[in-house]
């Protein structure tokens, strides 16, 4: 079963990496969370019956692990703000904007970050609603609010 599990998870491991980047600031913490998510996926694997896509299931367990675990280190907010304010050359504008948005996303609260992660990975409203446990309408409302929040964060810096 271990082999089967690893073969199923292996092609989608980038999803775990993304969660780790969104929810942890330090490399060591990211590695710890990666291991923790992998372990929780393994424990939940026997109950995965293939009713939903494996990526939906992995997001559910991964986001749950990231949000329900109690980290030892406090999130490094100053680092995100510093990186957003850095001076950049014109060629780097495209990359920098995307980097700026990435840093702004890290300044959102953890619940909003979960929704952004699902949205950016192109999950449908139905899948997002299923993972988070809210209605599809609420997903739409929350996404509108998050867009506004992100604009405000970027304008501020």
């Amino acid at each position: 079963m271990k082999k089967e599990f690893l073969e199923e998870v292996y092609p989608h491991q980038h999803l775990i990496h993304k969660i780790c980047h969104l929810y942890r600031d330090h490399q060591e913490d990211k590695e710890d969370l990666f291991q923790e998510i992998l372990y929780q996926l393994w424990k939940a694997y026997p109950s995965f019956r293939g009713n939903s896509k494996i990526t939906t299931w992995m997001y559910r367990i991964g986001l749950n692990t990231a949000m329900a675990s109690f980290r030892k280190r406090k999130p490094d907010i100053s680092n995100s703000l510093d990186q957003m304010g850095e001076t950049i050359s014109e060629e780097e504008v495209g990359d920098a904007l995307s980097e700026q948005l990435k840093q702004a996303i890290k300044l959102l609260n953890e619940g909003d970050r979960a929704l952004v992660a699902l949205y950016l990975d192109d999950l449908s409203y139905m899948e997002m609603a299923e993972i988070l446990g809210i209605t599809e309408n609420h997903v739409g409302v929350k996404l509108t609010r998050i867009r506004e929040k992100l604009k405000k964060i970027i304008v501020k810096v």
């Binding site: 271990k2 690893l6 073969e7 998870v9 292996y10 491991q13 980038h14 999803l15 990496h17 993304k18 980047h21 990666f34 291991q35 923790e36 992998l38 372990y39 929780q40 393994w42 424990k43 939940a44 559910r60 367990i61 986001l63 749950n64 692990t65 949000m67 329900a68 675990s69 109690f70 904007l97 995307s98 700026q100 948005l101 990435k102 609260n109 953890e110 619940g111 909003d112 979960a114 952004v116 949205y119 950016l120 990975d121 192109d122 299923e130 993972i131 988070l132 446990g133 809210i134 996404l143 998050i146 867009r147 992100l150």
Partner: protein, 181 residues
């Protein structure tokens, strides 16, 4: 830049993948880490409480007291250790429902219940220690009395910090739950 424009960049990110062998090693490591953590915590708790029991039994002539008191102490401490085992298991299982909201709600409910029982059990053990030794306070020499007070003090400090830790964890979980709704 709009959030939509960031989609393709985001989807391409996180591609620094580990190969299957590395993933397998990491998986083995993750299982060992969790087991080591459980073993370590359990071992420390069990050694400390056993030492606590032995010290009181030996140092304070517990054998001369009615057996019911000794049994109560042992049962109290056994309850505390088994409750700790339950707590370690709870801490290592953050997924408690089909959706994030359900899971966090259930986890919060379980943690609140666990925190209450955890603090209550420690208070019970402190009370048992006092009830157990109070009748013989006059017979006990000053040095032993100091040890008794010192250990009771440590237990009270433990209750204080434990209570603070649980309050902070419950607050964090409640906050994350609010962020989702």
């Amino acid at each position: 830049m709009e959030l939509e424009d960031f989609k393709s960049a985001y989807q391409k990110s996180g591609q620094v993948n580990k190969d299957i062998k590395e993933l397998r090693n990491l998986f083995g490591q993750s299982q060992r880490n969790v087991l080591d953590r459980i073993k370590g915590q359990l071992l420390i708790e069990t050694i400390l409480w056993t030492a606590f029991l032995l010290l009181f039994y030996d140092g304070f002539d517990a054998a001369k007291k009615p057996i019911i008191w000794t049994l109560s102490m042992v049962v109290g401490i056994l309850l505390l250790i088994s409750h700790n085992i339950f707590g370690i298991r709870l801490g290592n299982r953050p997924v408690h429902g089909d959706s994030l909201q359900d899971s966090l709600q259930n986890y919060l409910r379980k943690i609140r219940r666990f925190a209450k029982v955890s603090v209550a059990l420690r208070i019970l053990v402190i009370l048992l220690v006092f009830v157990f030794f109070m009748p013989s306070v006059k017979e006990v020499e000053e040095k032993r009395m100091m040890i008794l007070l010192g250990m009771s003090g440590l237990l009270i400090i433990q209750v204080f910090f434990l209570n603070r830790m649980w309050k902070s964890r419950i607050h964090t979980l409640r906050q994350r739950l609010n962020e989702l709704s």
